[in-house]
Amino acid sequence: MAKHSANARHARDGNRPNKPGAGDTDSTSAGSEGFAGGLASVGGHLADRRRFLGYLLAAPTVVAAAQLGGSLLGSQSAGAAQPVPSNPQVADNYDLSDAIYDAAKPTSDLITVQVHSDGTVSHEMVRTEVGQGVQTAIAMLIAEEMDIPIEKVNVTHAPARPELVWNQLTGGSTAIGSQFTPVRVAAAIAKGRLLDAAAAKWDLAKSELTAHAGRVLRPSGQALSFGELAEAAAVTENKKVSTELKPDSDFKVIGKPQRRVDAMDIVTGQKEFATDMEMPDALPTMVCRPPTINGTVKSVNNADEVQNMPGVTDVATITTGVAVRAKTFGQCVDAIHALDVSWNGGPVEGTSDTSIEKELKDAHPPWVIPGTPGTKAFEREYTFAFTNNAPLEPATAIADVKEDSAEIWAAAKLPITAQGEIASLLGLPATAVTFNVVGSGGSFGRRLFNDGPLDAAEASQKMGKPVRLMWHRADEYRHGRGRPMQVSKIRAFHDGEVVHSLENRYTSVFTDFGHGFGDLMAQYYTSVNPDTPLATNPGSALALSQTIFELTAVWPYSMGPTKQLLMEVRQPTESTGTEHNLTTFNTTAMRQVYNPNVVAAQELFVDELANEMGRDRYEFRREFAKDDKFREVIEKVAEAGNWGRSLPDGVAQGIGVHEEYKQHAACLVEVDCRPETVNRKIPGGTTGPRVLRVVFVSTVARHLVNPLGAEAQLQGGIMDGISLAQTNSLHLKDGAFLEGSYDDFRYTRQWNVPTDVQVILLPEDSEAEVGGFGEVGVAPTCAAVACAIGAARGSYPNYLPISHNAGIPFEVKPHDPPIPQSPTNGLEHYPAPAKASEETSLNP
């Protein structure tokens, strides 16, 4: 069977050119300080603001390079004054994506574009493809700038490159924005050099030549392909050069719908994920994990016996449990079932949904904005259950650890962090660890942490053999990561006409931002905002969380003085007398971090407040919209969604509004809550209310690279939003999560998917420089669905997802052994699993 070369292997062998030395500069406009600040200071010291600095690097065929680091930092104008103006919030002026772009500035090194003799162009990207389409978008940038068909552009993953520091980070919907200029600069320099080479060959002036479809053309019509010129265009010494970029008006690729470059590999089963890679000695390995969260191994009582089971080659205790290596993953499952392990309880043993919810509610800081005479308080509290990233590809990695070196192949959004963590775990210098990045089967925040690669490295070291390690699905729910439980309490004072003040107390179980992402925030945000909690409390994890919260939470309505504050429950609180340290749940910055819950609470509150004040829910939002952009998306979504149209009893509309990653977005949904719909039966599935229709409107920042990809990201975010409002959560009981499969953890399935989904992207907004669509779909949809359900039922939910407290509609799989055995009756039961029966279907 034909196997495509794996990205990671490709990346490992690919010739990465030398870094430039003190080469000459080709450009008269390049100043001596250009190396350090060139790209970051467009319009600054460069004579011509359209020129960008880059390099030609010595190599057999032409290699052009550019420094990472954006010229993309834009400041956004704060909201215009409204009836009762709100104070500008931090995120109005400076949001999380700005922080990530800023972080990309001072530490940059080079990314390269190489033209090969076969006419292809290659680039090792320093972002990770997790399904968001970054590989396609970067290929588009190169195709655009070089005038070459996109099929000739090969974008692969660079391995961990420690010299890039925080510039090799994928997160916060910034992947495309941060690469937009540097990748094009390198591509433009490469093309310019090919034109130079052709001009020299033909003895013509470069200005007489044009590039088209991967060839250089002369006026006579004669052509030379890029491949034919690749060697002639190479340089023998590194050189500093400057280039112009194609003006926006000439774009033929950027901004046009482009299908994914990896689509053919995907639909033919050729796309390789980490466990698909050919590496015969790296045998399947799984870990037998503790029955409670972060429990530890006390003793393994039958290691020898298990070691002798069919197919099993090794049994070794590692930090997170007992690793078993076998000929097949099936035999790893058998071995885990046979293992007799004594465990120490985990640090959150005994906790449950209700105990954590109580701790959160008890931890709300007191209100600080008092009511004014003639106003009335309106207060609500909403709880959001634990949830899980649950990418379909679980944590995986291949590791080959030798005495003095290690090589890893895995998906990671922070490969440099992964490399460093693995090195310290193994007791090796970071330089001895090669970390090859592989694209992943989803992330949603999961691959900000390196749980799979760390397990794999430790197991390989202990066993002295290469391993192909994979987490079981049940491991992901029970020991993986996600957004923890949160409670949002909101209070407004109003006089029946106008809202005078608004306060939001948002309390969460500690969210782990880990190494890399968190450090990035700490370093850069404090430097631009001396008032941030982080600046006044350096090193404080609470301040870091509060900073991230402030960077992303935007109350979209003018409701007088507005204050949103995050509080994290981390240590035992006196009120509950608990012994538990809540920093020990396994959490991460899950897709859109706090905002799915923040915005759902916000919009539920706004719906209920509008009702309280006797106002139409749409008109209320429109009138109180904080600025014109919010008003525009609210009006647009109401128009496109036909707000207020007549619907049967039990079917209602809902609206959700949000701004993040430079995009203002609004979502309108129609949800059917009639009993015949809610109680429809899908064997083994949770049905409940059905979202019939979704209209999603978003503003678009300048330079949207791929509208088809943006639409896909929003469509995916919409499904997340539906899940989070209706079905998708983890139940915590006795210090362990109950869910063990996708039928238990109820992420949206086809039976809950609307058959009408309309995504409307507004014309590009020249004020917003760069945006990203990876996350912004989630929160407004989650909010709109929750509101529509409230409106249809005449009573608003105060706990999401709505199914969470409607019982446990599945048989809880044992926690010891920690993973379920595979059934054997698959030939008789398709598509529903054997156990699924109508009785197990329980609807909220």
């Binding site: 499969s741 996708y742 054997t824 030939l827």
Partner: protein
């Protein structure tokens, strides 16, 4: 060790492996056929969906001993060969046309399940409906490509009408 023979994607194979090892691991870990993906191992997520004598099944839940020498297994890698001509299977074409995939991990299973469902409704002499998709397409897509899957399935169903019988 027991020997097991069967056909995978038109190729006769024999593997030496214990009877109870599930077909997903025989395909992936022994034969290196990695198109079918692991997502749960318990017949829930459908990421591993492949075809057993032309009908969908989930190899994670079938021991190799249940597969006999006359049985034909088709995985995503062999799907195109079940359609006439040199090209992709019409459902794969529809998937490309609608640019369905995001991370791509679930998509081999989605396509194999989609082909099976369309064959089933066509055999019943009807067109594919949204209700068919609701009830039968249990495949999880954590990236949330469900809407494009619906569009591609309807398109693919039309394209499959042009296929010769048995395809």
């Amino acid at each position: 060790m027991p020997e097991h023979s069967f056909t995978v994607n038109g190729r006769q194979v024999t593997v030496d492996i214990e009877d109870d090892v599930r077909m997903l691991w025989v395909l992936r870990d022994v034969l290196g056929v990695t198109g079918p993906k692991y997502g749960c191992g318990i017949n829930v997520c459908k990421a591993c969906t492949s075809h057993y004598n032309g009908r969908a099944f989930n190899p994670c839940s079938v021991p190799v001993s249940k597969i006999g020498p006359d049985d034909e297994i088709t995985t995503i890698e062999g799907l195109a060969d079940t359609a006439p001509g040199e090209d992709l299977h019409p459902m794969q074409e529809a998937w490309l046309e609608h640019d369905v995939a995001q991370c791509g991990y679930c998509q081999p299973g989605q396509i194999m399940a989609a082909v099976d469902l369309v064959k089933k409704v066509h055999a019943e002499g009807r067109d594919l409906t949204d209700a068919d998709i609701d009830t039968n397409m249990r495949n999880v897509c954590r990236c949330g490509t469900y809407y494009r899957i619906r569009q591609a399935m309807k398109d693919g169903a039309e394209r499959m009408k042009g296929m010769k019988k048995g395809g």
